[in-house]
Each structure stands twice: as C-alpha cells, then as structure tokens.
C-alpha cells in the first residue's frame, strides 16, 4: 500500500523537480500558500499570455518547503497545465480535486504524471498535501482574473472531506 502513496512517478518528481524556481521573469501573478498544520509553504508564479482574446498559461513555476507528496504534486501540476488556457487549467484542477476525493479519474491523459497521485486518495491525511499545488494554481488563476498580482492563503485544519478552507 505504501507504493500507492509513494508511486515511482511521485518519487521521481520529488527527486527531480520540474519547473521549480524561486522566481519567474515577467510573472503576472504570485500566490503564497501555507498549511500551518504541517508547515508546508508553497510559492506559485504564473505568466499569462493572451492571444485571440484567450488567456493561457505561458509559464508556471513553484517553490517551497514541504513533504514529498506536496512538492512532487506541484511539480507534476506545472507540467500538466502549462500552455492551457486559464479556464481549461482550472477545470483540470477541479478534476484532480475530485480524483483526490476518490471519484473516478477523468481527463486522465491531460493530468500527465498527475494521475500517479490517484493512490494518495487512500491516505486521507495526505490528500491535502497533494492538493496544495493545485489549489495554489486555482487561486493564482482567480487572482489574475480579478486583476490582482498577488495573494496569500492559509489552509486551516482539513475538514472531514480532507479539504482545506481559505482564509
């Protein structure tokens, strides 16, 4: 069962993170999320490109401190969402969230390595770790759409559903 949690793909993202950087040139939005319960800290930066009236993720980087699940999930997330338009990336994040709550995976192919986190759903206390990067992404998209450049969110104790609440 440990293999469900620490899938080889997850360990690979932990050991060899993708798009992990402390800064992003010409970033449009920066969000900082932390989970005081376990001390995880995550910074996510997005650069948005608009063409033909559609805003898409031109570049996304993350940085932070946290367990293997939270950092690897953020890494896999960046690969899955770069290039997508904002609404589509948000929809993919919603699919990931549903999958972490035990619903059948949809858009499996679009999640790329994100699908490897399916087994984390069996570990309720770790679900919030896998969701941290994706929730930061959704917050970054929303922040951008509201015309803001930065936002900070503290995730409180997980609810029964294993979800985090916003400030």
């Amino acid at each position: 069962m440990t293999e469900d949690l620490y899938h080889d793909i997850i360990l690979d993202h932990y050991r060899s993170p993708r798009n992990r950087a402390a800064d992003l040139e010409r970033a449009d939005v920066h969000v900082h999320h932390n989970n005081p319960l376990c001390g995880d800290e995550l910074d996510l930066r997005l650069r948005v490109a608009t063409a033909d009236g559609t805003a898409a993720i031109d570049a996304v980087v993350y940085d932070g401190e946290g367990c293997s699940i939270s950092m690897a999930s953020a890494s896999a997330m960046t690969e899955a969402v770069v290039g997508r338009d904002l609404a589509d990336a948000d929809d993919l994040a919603e699919h990931f969230r549903a999958m972490m709550h035990g619903e059948p995976a949809k858009r499996e192919d679009d999640l790329l390595d994100g699908i490897a986190f399916q087994g984390v759903a069996k570990f309720p206390v770790r679900v919030k770790c896998a969701l941290l990067g994706w929730m930061a992404l959704r917050d970054a998209i929303l922040t951008f759409q509201q015309g803001e450049a930065s936002h900070r969110v503290t995730h409180e104790e997980p609810t029964l559903a294993g979800e985090a609440n916003h400030e």
């Binding site: 440990t2 949690l5 620490y6 360990l11 050991r15 376990c38 995880d40 367990c67 293997s68």
Partner: protein, 412 residues
C-alpha cells in the same frame, strides 16, 4: 526496578499489530496508553456506583463523592500538594486558561511583564496572548539556545528589572526534552518581587519524574491526565490554596456556587469554586487508578528507566548518517521526548514510512511552533518513550529510519 516485559502485559493495546507488524508506540508525549487497572476502575464506577457528586443523599451519590474526593487526594499526595489546591479540569490546557482568565486577567495590567519562553507548548502561550488583549500587560519570551536550553542570562536580566509579575515555564519540553531549572527560577522570581507568581507546565514532567509541588516553590502547576496513563478528558491545576482562594471564578454554573439569587451569587469554597457543573468524575477516578499504578512502580524508577532509554536512543540515532537529534544530549538533563531531523526528508514522509513499519512517531510542530521555528525548521519527527518502552523498540526505530532513507534513496 520494575520488569518492562511484565508491565507491558498490563497494556492491552501493546499487543496489537499495525500494518501487519507489532506496534511500537513511541508517541507517549502526545498521549500515553492505558493500563487495564485504569479501565477497571472506570468500569467499576460506571457499572456499580455511577452518580453525580456533592448532591443527593443516596448511597451511590455518597460512594461517587467519596471516590471523586479520594481521587483529588491521590493527585495531591502524588505531587506533594494540598488537596484544597487541586482543581480537576478537562486537560492541562484548561488549567492554563483558568490561571489566565482568573489570575492574570485580574492581576496584570500596564507596566507588568508576563515572562514565558520560546520553548512553550501553545497551551502555555495562547491563553496569555488572549488575555493580553484585555489586560494590556507586556509578554516577553526567554530565548532558547542552540543547545535547546533556556537563555538564563535573559532571565536574570528580566528578574533584575523587577517588572515580571507572572512567569510561565515548562518543566520539561515536549519537543526537545529539556528539563528546565524551574525551582531555581521560582526562587529567583519570588526574590525579585513579592507579588509575582509562577506557573509551571508539568504536562511532560509529572508523568515521567517525581514531582514535589511544595519543594518546587511555584504557585501553579498544570498537568494532564491522559499523558500519565489516565483517561482523556481530565487535567489538573495544582495551586497554592491561599492564592486560589483569592482568585475570582473562571467558569460559572452549578457546583461552584454557595448561593444564587436573581441579583447575584456567592461562590463555593476552593477548590469547588473552580469546578463549575458536573465535574469529570469517571475520569478523575481513572486518573487516581493511574496514579496508583505509577506509585506502585515508583516514579524514581520510571525516571531511571527512561534515562536508560534516552542514553541508548540518542547515540543510536546520531550514529545514523544524516540524522541530527535536537536538544540536550545528556540523559540526566532531558526527558524522553526525542525530536530529530533526517537530512533531506520531511518529517511527514518519515512518519508515514515508519507507520508502515508499525512504529508510531509524531511528525509536525508538536503545538510548539515558536520553538520548532527556532530549530530552523517547520516540523520535526519525534519519538517519545514511556515506562512500557524497551531497548528493542529503539532498535526497531533505528531500523525504520534506515528503511525510510533507503526508500527515498539518494536525495539531494
């Protein structure tokens, strides 16, 4: 000296398996396990004489009142205190809140300093911060050195200033294990100012070493029942009776009153003034049975057993490549809560792999975030030992850390 193998048979939970492996329970600093004798005592209350206390004239009420008051006496004897100063609470946290809302709120004001430390559990920080919003005193924190000791120069300077009216210090850290010189600090405080009081957090020390409230010289001592083999839902505030008597009530309701009219109330004598409503009867009876169990073993021997485990555990952990132990290394200077870091690994990952090996450790900030931050970290892994732990379990701990390191492989 007691025989650990025999003792373990008194704890039903220690027989269980976790993920197909024998349970190695190394989380007693969070909560201890319960011996059968405690369960039996509570069972007798619920099956043969359950009744409310201090009211009613029937036989069951008399028996339950006698058992409840006997429990108060057992607690008092256990820590060498006066039973009139023993208040049952739901946990140690409530005991701190009682002191904060009753004593601190009425006695502290502008110009006064409440001195505590960076080492404290949130239970000994947050109540003061809450009351500070109403009473406008100043809070200062004694820093913690790199060795995990209190900065006593800072303490001495604060004493020399003469403005510290409340000193709140843990007797034993729940994260780094440090045993603080609380008796010396109490003496120094009382020399600096006649009206100053000291609160000692005994949540970790009372279960693990002999406690003498009279010799300690403190004014309040807070402790928790569930960390000393008792049930959850019971804690105690130990106070100097004359001080307790001078304090306004904390929670209001039945039991704590002498008379109630529509224009006001007068209050019961101590300690009942501070036990509003039906108290924790079954839990107090369970706690008394836990104290019986501890006294039969002898608290000096409990402490000796744990010093032996500490003296084996710390070198064994430090022998592992990439493992650092936080806090004092000298077994006589610390308790058996041992926090450590494994280079490159997050404590939650360490804790999860350990769990799969049947080992229960705590990973996180241990409700002491300022201290954990001072260690340069957001979280630690903590193995904490008690009277039922064995040297073999240290071997298992070390093995599981090696397994964890291999699992995550060549990181960094």
């Amino acid at each position: 000296m007691f025989d650990v193998t025999t003792i373990r048979k008194d704890f039903p939970v220690l027989e269980r398996q976790v993920h197909g492996r024998p349970l190695v329970y190394l989380d007693s600093a969070a909560t201890s396990q319960t011996p059968q004798a405690v369960l039996d005592a509570m069972d007798r209350f619920y099956t043969t004489y359950r009744a409310n206390v201090h009211r009613g004239v029937h036989a069951l009420a008399e028996e339950s009142t006698a058992a409840y008051e006997d429990a108060r006496g057992r607690v008092a004897d256990f820590v060498h205190a006066d039973a009139r100063g023993v208040v049952f609470t739901k946990n140690a946290t409530e005991a701190f809140n009682l002191v904060a809302y009753s004593w601190a709120r009425s006695q502290l004001g502008p110009g006064d300093i409440l001195l505590t430390t960076q080492m404290e559990h949130h239970a000994n920080l947050v109540p003061w911060q809450l009351v500070q919003q109403q009473a406008e005193f100043e809070i200062q924190y004694i820093p913690v050195t790199d060795e995990g000791l209190l900065d006593l120069d800072f303490f001495e300077q604060a004493m020399a200033g003469g403005r510290v009216k409340l000193l709140a210090v843990t007797a034993m850290s729940n994260v780094v294990g440090t045993i603080n010189p609380v008796a010396d600090m109490a003496e120094r405080l009382h020399k600096s100012r006649d009206d100053a009081v000291m609160v000692v957090d005994g949540a970790q020390s009372v279960p693990h070493m002999p406690t003498d409230f009279a010799a300690l010289g403190a004014d309040f001592l807070c402790a928790s029942g569930h960390k000393m083999l008792g049930p959850t839902g019971v804690g105690v505030l130990i106070a100097r009776p004359e001080l307790l008597d001078s304090m306004p009530p904390f929670l209001g309701g039945g039991e704590m009153i002498a008379d109630v009219t529509l224009s006001g109330s007068t209050f019961n004598e101590i300690p009942y003034k501070f036990e509003a409503g039906t108290p924790v009867i079954g839990e107090a009876i369970g706690l008394a049975a836990a104290i019986d169990y501890l006294e039969a073993l002898g608290m000096s021997d409990v402490r000796r057993h744990e010093e032996e485990l500490i003296s084996r555990c710390i070198p064994a952990l430090e022998a592992i490549d990439g493992v650092r132990v936080h806090g004092p290394k000298d077994p006589t200077a610390r308790g058996a809560a041992i926090s450590f870091a494994v280079d490159g690994l997050h404590p939650h990952d360490v804790g999860t792999i350990m769990d799969r090996e049947g080992i229960a450790v705590r990973a996180g900030h241990h409700c002491a975030k300022p201290l954990v931050r001072s260690l340069g970290s957001v979280a630690t892994t903590r193995a904490s030992f008690y009277l039922y732990n064995t040297p073999d379990e240290i071997t298992e701990l070390v093995r599981a850390i090696e397994v964890t390191k291999q699992f995550f492989g060549n990181l960094g």
